[in-house]
Symmetry: C2
Subunit: 451 residues, 2 copies
């Protein structure tokens, strides 16, 4: 249950101030989750923040820090005294350290690196050798390993010894004599097993694992599909690199959706949350697409120039331009976003190309006919003559059908070409169908109008 901010904050401030009881403070901290603590820290002055982090048990301080963006983590760590800094850093999970080190300046990284214990330094260095955003860089090395010839009793004794420190403790990873991942066992299975059974008799030897160089989004999808809470990552030689945990997967899936949504809105994905992005950072993310779409959009002026004669003779045709191309754009945006998402979550594959086209042609036609009826009604209600109404409604049928089909086709073609389907954003489709819509409109007008 979310804590009651104001009162708690006041209490905490008093305890952090001069003469506050260390015992009372530690009792208060005991009752809070790392996430709550991270929210509280945001409310404090820098002085208080640092005092609070020092007062926390290092393992809690580490988990609390992991709720912040890497840049902020660095800011806190940099200001803490050497000993606290070292204790907290060594308690942070390896994927968090890798993320932190990747985000900060190499010189800043050097300043922190020396506070890691020697064995942890080596693990981190090893993990940083995997590409950014790969399963390997996301893996956590803080898991429990056991040897395949151990008995259940031996393994349980081992869990009792190292379990308190391990961050991933619900599964025991069983290694072969050569250090390869040979099987997995849940803590429950271990508890339920007869004490003298060998692990290799009870372990599940068909382990689902992913290679360290797999993209993290792909690895995230494996966890989500299998409903796992943890997924082992192995090197090309079958050695265990670490474990990806579901809480990281949640973050990845959420980030991925955010990126897709931003792309769909026609801007490049932001690197940082919106309010933390500078104006010029946002500018850079938006100007590229805005400019490309503008240049693509200039074709509409060329098309209209081509129909200048028609337009001069019937200026009234111009009245319906925004409405008609707008409706086409809307139909295209509806289809493209639906299909893009379906491709992203794996509901639609490239092989479904023809099925999707055939659906969208029929769907576009029905939608177009329904909209045309409305368009005709509206046009006549506006006291336009029947001819104008017919031109408008015929155009609607054609434009909506074409737009729906194009909106469905483009993302799948993009996928086939290896592009991110979300590149075919609503603005992109809108711009494409604007041009097409104009041609359709004026061609139909030329047929109907006695020019």
């Amino acid at each position: 249950m979310p804590f009651e901010d104001a009162k708690l904050l006041e209490q905490l401030r008093a305890l952090l101030g001069q003469g506050g009881s260390a015992h009372d403070l530690s009792e208060l901290l005991d009752e809070l989750q790392p996430y709550d603590l991270s929210i509280i820290i945001e409310e404090l002055e820098q002085e208080e923040q640092l005092r609070l982090l020092e007062a926390m048990p290092p393992v809690i301080a580490a988990e609390t820090l992991e709720h912040f963006e890497p840049i902020e983590q660095y800011r806190f760590l940099d200001h803490l005294p050497a000993e606290t800094k070292s204790e907290i850093l060594n308690q942070m999970s390896s994927d968090a350290v890798v993320q932190l080190f990747t985000a900060i300046h190499p010189r800043q990284m050097d300043r922190l690196y020396k506070y890691l214990s020697k064995p942890y330094q080596e693990q981190i260095r090893n993990q940083m050798s995997y590409p950014e955003n790969s399963a390997g860089s996301l893996a956590n090395v803080d898991y429990i390993a056991a040897q395949c010839w151990w008995t259940a009793q031996q393994a349980l004794a081992h869990v009792r010894k190292v379990g308190e420190r391990a961050e991933i403790y619900n599964y025991i990873y069983v290694l072969s004599s050569w250090g390869e991942l040979a099987g997995v066992l849940s803590l429950r299975e271990l508890i339920l097993a007869a004490p003298d059974t060998r692990l290799d008799e009870i372990m599940n030897s068909k382990v689902i694992a992913v290679p360290a160089d797999m993209d993290q989004e792909e690895a995230a999808r494996v966890i989500a599909q299998y409903d796992f809470v943890a997924l082992p990552v192995v090197s090309s030689t079958g050695r265990m690199v670490g474990v990806i945990t579901v809480d990281d997967v949640l973050d990845i899936i959420e980030e991925e959706a955010t990126e897709d949504i931003q792309l769909l809105g026609g801007s490049q994905p932001l690197d940082t949350p919106y309010l933390q992005s500078g104006i010029f950072g946002l500018f850079r993310k938006r100007i590229v697409w805005l400019m490309l779409l503008f240049l693509a959009g200039t074709i509409t002026s060329t098309i209209l120039r081509f129909y200048e004669d028609t337009l001069t003779q019937a200026v009234a045709l111009a009245f319906f331009i925004p409405l008609l191309i707008g409706t086409g754009g809307n139909a295209g945006a509806q289809t493209s976003t639906t299909v893009i998402r379906a491709v992203a979550v794996g509901d639609v594959n490239v092989k479904d190309f023809l099925i999707v086209i055939w659906r969208e042609i029929r769907l576009g036609l029905i939608l177009g006919l329904a909209m045309a009826a409305i368009g005709l009604g509206w046009s006549l209600a506006q006291n336009n003559d029947l001819l104008v109404g017919l031109i408008v409604s015929t155009t609607i049928v054609a434009v909506v059908t074409f737009s729906s089909t194009i909106g469905a086709v483009m993302p799948i073609i993009g996928k086939k070409l290896g592009l991110d389907p979300a590149v075919f954003s609503a603005p992109m489709i809108t711009t494409l169908v604007d041009a097409l819509g104009l041609i359709i409109y004026f061609q139909i007008a030329r047929i109907f109008l006695p020019l």
Copy 2:
């Protein structure tokens, strides 16, 4: 590691056929995860599907079924013999059963309901009393409960007894004598504890729990924020209802993003995956917004009619209409999707209203100026005279600035009004700024042109 489809499928088909060895089949099934089995089932004929489900241990069959949509689950269950049906149903997690029962016809539900064991019937009935999509309906009742006066040893013995059946076993939920949720203990803590310690001495009594009537998306966000794998749900009287697990949360967060994306594309969210939605289902989801946007868009034709004189005297003005309002729409779509997502994931709140407006005004101005420069260059390159270039570029500055600001303001106002911010989709914003863009364009033209 994904299995090798073709070979395995062939092998399985042989074992399912006449004279296949039951022993070999069960060995083969042992090596597969429920998710793999669900993929395999999709490849089989109905006859084989049913024989395979019957051959599986019921707990595995239940988990496999849970990977299918409720409608398909019903289809399988309905065709299975009574005994298998009953075994599988009783092994399905309570949230899955609730989801299944909610999705099918009440008469279909009645046909399945009687196969549940009496105690499970009561639990399911109780859980179905919570609103659809609430934390209560999503909770799983298959957790391990312990009494607060038990010792660690007693609790561990209890885990050994019931642990094999429980689906949520990494946490032990400690109940008070009145049956209220009093504390929580991880399996690891239980193993590490001295055998004769009482649970209420070692349990964490500040349990983060959510009320049963909380919306499931909100509950999902609590799990994601706290990095939990399980979250207890309590009734209004503090009694334990069940536990929400992170795998369900993953599904919710993904569905939520899908719904937002579909809304952002200007259609109502689909109830089923794209390819499984019928043409008329898709039609219904799209026609409403398409029609509303069309009706809103008709204002553009009224506006243009108002400027008919200006347009007749300078038909060339019409050439730039799609380009200018398109650019405004793009800028608006960029801002609105970014802000809508930021609101959805909690990066931006209603209280940030003024900060966001002030950012977007400045950002819009810079973007507008940059685009205007490009617009002027393009216009002159097209041999338009300087006057046209000036009208076009001045309009761009104004339109982009206004559109960015409107795109940011609308979602936050929507949030304040309790609407889903995603209602302010790219098509919606585009339609709004189309009208505004036309007014700006013609007013500027009237100032510049010697009419």
